[in-house]
Symmetry: C2
Subunit: 223 residues, 2 copies
C-alpha cells in the first residue's frame, strides 16, 4: 500500500504499483461510472475526460486506447470479484473439512455479485460495469470471458467432490445453467419481471433473492 491520499471520487481503483497518477485514477473512476450508467458505446472519450476534469488525450496517453481502458477496468473488477468468490469458497471448504455442500458452493458463486449489485454497496457501479462490459465489450474482453476459466475451476471441482455420483459432464452443464441464472440479474430483466408480475417481485431484497436462487439451483443440482 503506497501513500495514496484518500480521494472521494476514486477511492480505490488504482492501487497497483503506480507512483501517483491522480489523472489515471480520475479517468478510471469517471470511465467506470459513465460506462456503467450509459453503456460502453454511448460514452465517448470526450465524455470521460470531461467528467474526470482532465485533458482529452489522457485516455490514450495512460491506457493506449479506449478499448484498452475498458479492458483495464474489466480486468481489475473481475479479478476482485473472483477474489471475493474464492474467499467464500475457501471459508466454506474450511468449515466443512475440505468438502463443502453444494448449497455453500453455489452461495460462494452467487452471493458476491448479488451483494455488489445492492444499491448500498460500494461496488454497485463496478458490478453494473462488469455486466455492461460482458455484453458490450471489445473482442479482447470477449476473448478473456471465453478463455479465462481459471476462477471457475475450483467451483467445478468442489461441485464434483460434493456430487461424486454425478458425471463431470453433468456438473459442468448445471454450473453453466447456474451461471446463466446469475448473469440474468440485470436491470432490464428485473424490469421485465416486475412488469410481468405486476410488481409483486421486489429485487431489492438481496437476501430473499439469494435464498430463492439457491433453492432453485440446489434443487437442480441435487435432483
Amino acid at each position: 500500500m503506497s501513500t495514496r491520499p484518500l480521494q472521494d471520487p476514486a477511492p480505490d481503483l488504482p492501487p497497483e504499483t503506480e507512483r501517483d497518477a491522480a489523472t489515471k485514477a480520475a479517468v478510471l473512476a469517471a470511465a467506470e461510472r459513465l460506462f456503467a450508467v450509459r453503456g460502453l458505446r454511448c460514452v465517448s472519450v470526450r465524455d470521460i475526460t470531461a467528467e474526470a476534469g482532465v485533458n482529452l488525450a489522457s485516455v490514450n496517453y495512460h491506457f493506449g486506447s479506449k478499448d484498452a481502458l475498458v479492458f483495464e477496468i474489466f480486468r481489475r473488477r473481475t479479478a476482485e470479484l473472483s477474489r471475493d468468490r474464492a474467499r467464500m469458497l475457501h471459508e466454506a471448504t474450511a468449515r466443512h473439512d475440505g468438502k463443502p455442500p453444494v448449497r455453500e458452493i453455489l452461495a460462494a458463486l452467487m452471493e458476491p455479485p448479488l451483494r455488489w449489485s445492492n444499491p448500498a454497496h460500494v461496488r454497485r457501479i463496478a458490478m453494473q460495469f462488469i455486466i455492461r462490459a460482458r455484453s458490450e465489450g471489445s473482442e479482447a474482453v470477449r476473448e478473456v470471458i471465453r478463455t479465462d476459466v481459471s476462477h471457475l475451476r475450483p467451483f467445478a471441482e468442489a461441485l464434483m467432490t460434493a456430487l461424486p455420483h454425478l458425471p463431470p459432464e453433468e456438473v459442468y452443464w448445471r454450473l453453466h445453467f447456474t451461471l446463466g441464472m446469475i448473469h440474468n440479474n440485470r436491470f432490464a430483466e428485473f424490469d421485465r419481471l416486475h412488469a410481468l408480475s405486476d410488481g409483486i417481485t421486489r429485487e431489492s431484497d438481496v437476501d430473499a433473492l439469494l435464498k430463492r436462487m439457491l433453492d432453485f439451483a440446489e434443487a437442480g443440482f441435487l435432483r
Copy 2:
C-alpha cells in the same frame, strides 16, 4: 399464403401486405445475416446495402433509419418465436385437459429457441440476431423487451395452475431464473463452458441439452 415467389436469399422475411418491394426483402435478409454474424455496431448501412446489392439510401427510404430497421427485424422474429412457443404451450394444454405439467410448460418455453439455434435450422441466423439485438439493441428494442411481457403471461399462468400450492411471487422468480438459463445459451458462453470442461460438453446435441435444461429447471420448480 399469398402468391409470393420463392426467392433464394430472402425466402420468407417480408410476407405481410406489401406489393413487391424486392429491395426491402433483400435489405432485411442481408441486414439480419450481417447483424447476426458481426453484431449491430460493427455493421454499417453501407455494409448492408452493399451485401443486398441495393442503393445506400434504401435503408432510410424503406425503414426510416438504421435503428428502425433493427427494430423491424427484431419485431418480426420475436413475434415468430413467440408464436412457436405459444403453439407448443397450446398443444401441451390440449394434451392434458387444460392443465399441462410443469415440464411441458418449460419445454414449450425452451424448445423453440433451442431448435432455432441448431446449425441445421432455417432460423439459426434469426436466433443469433435476436440474441444480438437483445443486448446490443437501441433504446426502442430494450423498451420492448422490458415492457412487452404479453407472450410470457400464458406461461406464468400455466405454471401457477400446475403449481397451485406455490405463491405467485415464487412462480415469477423461478420463471425469471429459467429465462436466465435460456438466454445464457450464447456462443461465448458455450465456448467458456467448452474451455472449462476440457471439451467434454457438446452443445450440438440439442435434444440432450434440452433434456438437461428441463431436468434442472423442473427440479427447481418442483423442489
